[in-house]
């Protein structure tokens, strides 16, 4: 850290005073930041169902895995040890979301890397109008046109299917990600290396796969991470497109679990949230270098 102002001007007692004020302030903030998380963890291990019955201190009176049991029991069965309490489709939603996220990542990578490369390297007549269109399209939340999206998917039989949702996701990510990749190809891969490979007799495709792709790995990592994580908590399109309970994604499933039913399901929701948030936070922490860099705006300059 280069920001290290001198200490000489302060008397010792005033320094101690200010320091303790700062520490008190920071400690209060830590409490505010951690409290919702701690409360959620406590609630997830509570045996009773309702929000009203949760304890004020974030640890349960007698810890129990009942909510996890309820959550992970398939909806066709009753929870072990009870007579009439049915399970949920949580595992099905989890699997659906995982599948959508993986396919979305692969398609986005294939399409956006190719188009970014083409925009960066080729000069063709439609290039400028297409790039300008992409910059403009990037600005608009795609759900403004959701009625037409719905009708089009209906006409091509894509309603209540995962591929219909994936089509919408991939399309929605094209403008931003193509532009991102184009910028990265412009700066990170020097044309001379490519030209050398071409002179040595490698053709277009070989050069692209063997020389260019390895050089943009950091950006590909970022692209993969962001297109893998976005379907997990997206709500609008799955809600619009997926109708039957066994097709739903986690976001919609959890929403319907809790919306207006905090008294029946809050602690189970907390358990479900925990099972998403923990792997998510781990993924985030391990990938944060890429995420933060690109979010801080210098991802393309690396």
């Amino acid at each position: 850290m280069t920001y290290a102002p001198g200490k000489k001007r302060h008397s010792k007692s005033s320094t101690v005073f200010v320091t303790s004020i700062l520490y008190i302030f920071l400690t209060i903030t830590v409490l505010v930041v951690v409290y919702p998380v701690a409360f959620t963890i406590g609630a997830a291990f509570t045996e009773t169902n309702s929000l009203a019955s949760t304890r004020l201190v974030p640890w349960p009176e007698k810890p129990s895995f009942y909510q996890f049991q309820r959550l992970l029991t398939p909806s066709s069965q009753t929870v072990v040890g009870t007579v009439d309490v049915r399970g949920t489709n949580y595992l099905v939603w989890y699997r659906n979301t995982l599948k959508i996220a993986i396919v979305n990542t692969l398609c986005t990578l294939a399409i956006c890397i190719t188009s970014g490369y083409i925009f960066s390297r080729f000069r063709f007549r439609a290039r400028k109008p297409m790039m300008a269109t992409i910059v403009v399209l990037q600005m608009f939340p795609s759900f403004i046109g959701m009625i037409a999206t719905y009708v089009i998917l209906w006409r091509i039989g894509g309603l209540n299917t995962h591929w219909g949702l994936i089509l919408v996701y991939v399309t929605g990510s094209i403008p931003f990600n193509s532009w991102l990749m184009k910028g990265y190809f412009d700066t990170a891969v020097s044309k001379s290396i490519e030209e050398a490979a071409r002179v040595d007799g490698a053709n277009q495709i070989t050069t692209f796969i063997k020389i260019v792709i390895p050089m943009v790995k950091p950006m590909i990592m970022f692209l993969a991470l962001s297109s893998f994580t976005s379907p997990w908590m997206d709500f609008i399109f799955p809600r619009l497109i997926l109708r039957s309970d066994d097709k739903k994604t986690l976001a919609v499933g959890l929403f319907e679990l809790i919306n207006g039913r905090a008294n029946d399901n809050f602690t189970m929701f907390a358990a479900g949230a925990l099972l998403v948030a923990v792997p998510f936070a781990i993924l985030f922490m391990s990938g944060q270098k890429f995420l933060l860099k690109s979010m801080a705006g210098d991802g393309t300059k690396e």
Binding site: M1, T2, Y3, A4, P5, G6, K7, T15, V18, T19, Y23, L26, V30, V33, V34, V37, F39, T40, L51, L56, I111, S115, Y117, I118, F122, M131, V135, V136, L137, M139, P141, S142, F143, I144, G145, I147, T149, V151, R155, T171, G172, P175, S178, D186, M233, F235, I236, L254, F255, A270, A273, V276, A277, F280, A281, Q288, L292, M295, A296, G297
Partner: protein
């Protein structure tokens, strides 16, 4: 395989484009010896002609092909056929979408047509200049180099056309129709063009027009929200960034890691948890405050209009400050320490150092991101929808569906998804959001490297 000296006539520069203008590909076949290319062009034109001339199903050449019908349908949006069963009646919304898709196909076709004429001319000029027809190898190389970008971009163009451009145009067009519950929902009823009627409904100021008052309220709150949410997150983030680089804080790294936590949790989940924490009766926050004797009645965090707005901004700080903190911290490390050393010699205290060095430099660096965050907050659907769902309700909510904390974007969502569906008015608002976002789009555009390099 030489095609040299096949009697090159300079006339082809004129003749080939004219022939290609009469029928696609004709110039290429007759004058330029580009048989394959000419055949592809000609095939395209034949397909278009076929779908224009022959009526679908019967194949009678009466110029009522699917293309013509779809375009006519786009204009009429269907005729009332009350005697037919519902299933067979004209469905205005299908006709609108199909018409738009066909329109885009026709526009693309016209573009290819123009390209074909220009292509004929360019090829003719090349042939005359070189005084020979290109060899087979030359043609093949040319196609490989020139066609790669077009083939590679085909999926992009198709996907964007169907799932981005058509939906956006569609929602712009719906603003000029009466597509709304309960009287104009296909397939039972038709939808008609109504000109600027919806804009009059939304923007006419009169005492009994609850739409206009709701619009005013939502627009004002959207602007206040965008400013307040962006600035509070930034200010709080900066505060912690500055405090945590203070030499008196020994375990800054621990604090920083804890503070990143809200950023690592999916936002939607945090918002749901907060919604329940702040629940008026059962929420642990009110229960704790009552238990501690700090308040005697529950605080209406989410049920009083103004309180709900403040709560929304506060919860948004919880979610958003870590990002600003990281952003400011990373920008502060780039400030040369000599600046601070010089300031200390000049007798500047901490506050002066912050005011004259840290703040302006960091602000300058992060301004573009701050502006884009502002644009993002205008459209921050999630924060509102998951924390308050736009509630609490106010006097005109029953008519307009707009609650006290609804932003433009969540109001659009409600008008589209909830009954009674007001697709037409939702589209009017979408157009408005569109117009508001244009300056940001332009700004974003001027920030791109390509623009700065003069590439675009």
């Amino acid at each position: 395989m030489s095609r040299q000296d096949a009697g090159i006539n300079e006339q082809i520069i004129k003749k080939a484009p004219i022939a290609s203008a009469c029928f696609m590909g004709l110039g290429q076949i007759l004058y330029l010896k580009q048989y394959l290319r000419g055949a592809v062009y000609a095939l395209l034109e034949l397909i278009m002609l076929f779908f224009t001339v022959f009526e679908s199903g019967t194949f009678i050449p009466n110029f009522r092909g699917p293309i013509v019908k779809s375009l006519v349908g786009l204009i009429t949006l269907g005729d009332p056929k009350p005697d037919l069963p519902v299933k067979l009646r004209d469905h205005s919304i299908f006709m609108l979408v199909t018409g738009l898709i066909v329109l885009i196909v026709v526009v693309l076709y016209v573009a290819v047509y123009v390209f074909n004429i220009k292509d004929a001319k360019a090829s003719a000029i090349q042939i005359v200049e070189k005084k020979r027809f290109p060899t087979y190898a030359e043609t093949r190389n040319h196609i490989q180099e020139a066609a790669f970008p077009y083939i590679g971009l085909t999926p992009v163009v198709v996907l964007l056309a169907f799932f981005t451009v058509v939906p956006l145009l569609f929602s712009a067009l719906v603003a000029f129709t009466n597509y709304s519950s309960p009287d104009h929902i296909p397939p039972n009823n038709l939808v008609d063009w109504v000109g600027f009627e919806n804009f009059r409904t939304m923007f006419t100021a009169s005492a009994n027009n609850s739409w206009f008052s709701a619009f005013g309220r939502v627009a004002a709150w959207t602007v206040i929200w965008a400013f307040a949410s962006t600035l509070t997150c930034y200010a709080v983030g900066m505060l912690f960034a500055v405090v945590l680089v203070d030499y008196r804080i020994k375990i800054a790294k621990v604090f920083r890691t804890i503070f990143i936590l809200p950023y690592a949790i999916p936002t939607m989940l945090s918002l749901f948890i907060w919604q329940n924490l702040l629940n008026g009766t059962f929420g642990p926050i009110n229960r704790t405050l009552i238990e501690l004797g700090l308040i005697s009645n529950p605080i209406p965090w989410l049920s009083d209009p103004n309180m709900a707005r403040i709560t929304l901004i506060l919860v948004n700080i919880w979610i958003g400050f870590p990002y600003s903190m990281i952003l400011v911290t990373s920008n502060m490390t780039a400030i040369p320490s000599q600046l601070y050393e010089a300031a200390i010699i000049d007798g500047a205290n901490k506050w002066n150092q912050f005011k004259s060095i840290t703040l302006p430099l960091v602000l300058f660096q992060t301004m573009p991101l701050l502006i884009m965050q502002f644009a993002g907050n205008i459209n921050n659907f999630g924060a509102v929808f998951f924390l308050t769902a736009g509630d609490p309700k106010v006097s005109d909510t029953i008519t307009t569906q707009a609650g006290a904390t609804d932003l433009m974007i969540s109001w659009i969502y409600k008008l589209t998804m909830n009954t009674p569906n007001m697709y037409n008015l939702a589209s009017v608002l979408s157009i408005l959001v569109f117009i508001v976002l244009v300056p940001f789009a332009v700004y974003n555009f001027t920030q791109t490297k390509s623009f700065k390099d003069g590439e675009l």
